[in-house]
Amino acid sequence: MMINILIGFGVALFGFVLQTSLGGINRKIIGRLQKRYGPKWYQEFLDIFKLLSKRAISHGWLFDFGVIMALGGIIATATFMPVTNSIVAFPNYDNFFIFVYLIAVGMLGMAMSASGSGNPYASIGVMRALTTMLAYEVPFMIVILTIIKLTGTSSITGIAEFQQLAGNNWFMIALPLGFIVSFMALMGMLGKKPFETYIAPAEIASGPMVEYGGKQLGMLFIMHEITVFIEVSLFVHLFLGGAENILIFLLKYAAVYTLVNLISNVYGRFKIDQVVKFFYKWPLLLAIVQAVIAVYLGWVI
């Protein structure tokens, strides 16, 4: 058990390092897209450690407690994440619902701490984040329902292995509509444009982050990197057939994340009610159609 826990924290650390370096590389790629040179690839590390080295301010015990809870919750979630078929801390316990709901603890911690700062922009940002969550989660969960119903398991490695056993017939191909929906949902989850409403610097001055600086912000950055790791690798395992070894995982992970970034960078951001409208229009419909086709009619390519 001790070994498993250590592996779990190893995964969390690995996720942090991977996502932070990839984030830096992506900033460079985006820089090129915007006719710039771009920062160093390890810039994200510098930023985070810089923040940790600063002397921050605090608005009371809840302000700090929320941040600790946020980071703790996310680290705990990451420990359940499988990297490949064999590198998984708690085999059989990597239940899909754990990721959806345990991530929420971290989010709740952050939301609580942000609102606890007493800044209205933070509260508005939290409101928008929750509303966005309400928007993308329902279509996404319906697609997941389809997958779980098809595979008969909600274990992430189980689903990945199912795809590999089916001759690498990924759900990306088997459930094309569901894949499109989930990709949009992934963009919503990662808070990428056009669903970036809750950061929106020009409207609410970076939303929940408005009062953070120094170590709290640094910890939230770490939390954010790990969250992105969880969400993107969830996507890799669910739709891209998981990974037999770590190289394939890295490749798929980088591809998905870079694609999300490239797409998001030529878009502006929606208003918050447009996000809700957007997700409850076509993606929800597509997800239901996909579910009906796959579950009731059994038409899976």
Partner: protein
């Protein structure tokens, strides 16, 4: 007190004593309610869980008891809620006009509850059902508004009549009032009728769509402890009847192969889904914290209906577990709001703010309660929601699943709102000086409930094991559990492991936090305002129309149910005005009495 009969008589008599004492000294009377409900809970829990309750009846006529796991399950749970809430009674008794009556009614309801759950006869059940309706009916107007009790009365009578018709129909077909044999014997089209009638009664009591209209009104306007009772306790009567109708009654109707369930059950699941969506959507737009939680109770009632109508072991055990988890969490949440209301005399979120700084323990209680209500690990709500999702996904119910997912995320939205608007944010000047933490006696139940929230989330297998014995009683396949894990149809859950990992994660985060440079403490008003100066806390507290953008999307569509019921009420009022002119006075209590008298006379023939 191992004998149910003695327990019942004891509760009734002490109710009268509490009334008499309360006439002299109201506070003592209310303290008596704590003691009595404590004794009732202790007896039921101790003897019930060891299956040592005595069901022999020697003093009361026409009444017989039976000891089933289902009865013990509900009895222990509801009496526990009564016990917890009774701690609040001494602090709120001063706010009522009829102080002594309150204690009497409180204990009468408790007695009724015991009767309902432990009887084996449908007529007795109906009698106690009416006892609870009456006593709770008079509890409501102790708060503010008499109109809501009329609404409650209307829906309750509707439910009661449905229940009565179901009973009489069943009796006419099978010739017995016995619950178990009666429900199994009824067949054919009558079975469907009984099913529908029972479910109407259950829906009316549970406040499920489309019979939900009274619930938010009652829960908002009744006194704070009564609200907790309703949400955690009395509403569960509906769940009990739903179990009778959905699980005990043999299902009937068209069987849908692809979903592996009966059409009737599927329709119920859809109605439950509508309840979930309606409750969620309405809860999001409330300004009153109590009303918000009231709609959340409605939404959770929908979960219970969905879960019970699934019929699979995961579904039913999830539903039963949800009854526990929701009872604990919502009682805790209501008590926390009640504690705030006692200090500030309001539950409007737009008038409050920053209570965290003066009431940290109440805040933690509320936080834990809402984590459970939102179904986030490591709290009890997660286990039940996980089980329900297992059931729903296994059956492949897409629309129902969409509704449950929506409700699950939506609950995150609405429970966060009181947290942000009421406890967090700027500390308003009018509360800076006067507000203190709630008294220790009020904190006791809240803390106990919070601990239970955590226990149900970390170590649920004990309770699930009990639910398994219950499932045996109901002829359903048991849930596969081990000491630490729950094995669902498509996955394994280890709640303790999640909790441990969460604790470790928080520990690591804490180590990171304290090893870094210490932060500088600043005032709450020293905050980013785009470099402008501001001195009024109120202007910096975001609490009005919290979810304005999403509210705007559905605002035009929400009033159709309200319009329907208002139109109905107007029609009834027109007829009623005619009757009232001759017979009744303006008091709803009197009207109730008359109607009950009529019902009693009608029933007399059937009873003998």
């Amino acid at each position: 007190m191992a004998s149910l009969e003695l327990l019942l008589i004891f509760t009734l008599i002490s109710g009268v004593i509490a009334y008499l004492v309360g006439k002299v000294h109201p506070k003592t009377g209310s303290i008596l309610t704590i003691i009595v409900s404590g004794i009732v809970f202790a007896s039921l829990a101790y003897f019930g869980l060891n299956e040592q309750l005595l069901t022999k009846v020697s003093y009361l006529p026409y009444i017989s008891f039976i000891q089933t796991p289902l009865a013990i399950f509900f009895g222990v749970l509801v009496s526990f809620v009564f016990f917890m809430v009774s701690f609040f009674n001494p602090y709120f008794i001063d706010k009522y006009t009829y102080k002594a009556v309150y204690s009497l009614l409180y204990l009468l309801s408790l007695a009724g509850i015991i009767g309902i759950f432990f009887t084996d006869n449908f007529m007795t059940l109906f009698f106690f059902f009416e006892l609870v309706v009456w006593s709770s009916l008079f509890l409501i107007p102790l708060g503010r508004d008499e109109e809501v009790s009329v609404w409650y009365f209307g829906f309750s009578v509707f439910g009661s009549f449905a229940l009565l018709s179901a009973i009489l129909l069943m009796q006419s077909v099978t010739g017995t009032f016995d619950i178990t044999t009666g429900l199994q014997a009824v067949s054919g089209f009558n079975r469907l009728s009984v099913f529908i009638l029972l479910l109407i009664a259950a829906f009316a009591k549970l406040g499920a769509f489309p019979l939900h209209y009274w619930l938010p009104k009652v829960l908002t306007d009744s006194p704070d402890p009564v609200t907790s009772i309703f949400s955690g306790g009395l509403e569960k009567l509906g769940a009990f009847i739903a179990v009778l109708g959905l699980v005990k009654l043999v299902p009937t109707g068209f069987f849908i192969d692809v979903m592996d369930m009966y059409l009737t059950h599927y329709i119920l699941a859809i109605l439950g889904s509508l309840t979930i969506i309606g409750g969620t959507v309405m809860a999001i737009r409330q300004d009153d914290a109590k009303k918000l939680l009231a709609y959340s109770s409605m939404s959770n009632g929908g979960y219970i209906i969905v879960a019970l109508s699934l019929g699979s072991s995961a579904g039913i055990s999830g539903g039963l577990y949800h009854i526990i988890a929701h009872a604990i969490a919502s009682t805790a949440a209501f008590l926390a709001i009640g504690a705030v209301a006692r200090q500030t005399n309001t539950t409007k979120m737009s008038e409050l703010g920053g209570m965290l700084h003066k009431m940290p323990i109440t805040y933690m209680v509320y936080l834990i309660a809402i984590i459970s209500m939102a179904g986030i690990p490591p709290m009890g709500g997660f286990i039940s929601k996980w089980l329900i999702f297992q059931g729903v996904i296994n059956k492949g119910l897409i629309l129902v699943a969409a509704a449950t997912f929506f409700g699950s995320i939506g609950s995150f939205l609405y429970v966060f709102r009181p947290l942000a608007a009421l406890f967090l944010g700027q500390e308003l000047p009018q509360f800076k000086e006067t507000i203190k933490e709630a008294p220790i006696v009020m904190l006791i139940p809240m803390v106990i409930l919070s601990l239970l929230n955590i226990v149900t989330g970390v170590y649920p297998t004990n309770i699930l094991a009990y639910i398994n014995t219950l499932l045996v009683d109901l002829n359903i396949v048991q849930l596969d559990i081990t000491r630490w894990t729950i094995v669902g149809t498509n996955g394994t859950l280890n709640p303790a492991l999640i909790a441990v990992m969460f604790a470790l994660g928080v520990f690591i985060a804490f180590i990171i936090f304290i090893s870094l440079k210490k932060s500088r403490k600043v005032e709450l008003m020293d905050t980013y305002t785009a470099a402008n100066f501001i001195y009024t806390e109120e202007l910096l507290h975001y609490s009005v129309d919290f979810y304005a953008p999403i509210e705007r999307l559905y605002e035009p569509y929400i009033h159709f149910m309200k319009k329907f019921y208002q139109a109905l009420a107007n029609k009834v009022r027109e007829v009623g005005a005619l009757v009232k002119y001759y017979i009744f006075t303006s008091k709803p209590e009197v009207a109730t009495f008359f109607i009950m008298l009529v019902i009693a006379i009608l029933l007399w023939g059937d009873l003998v």
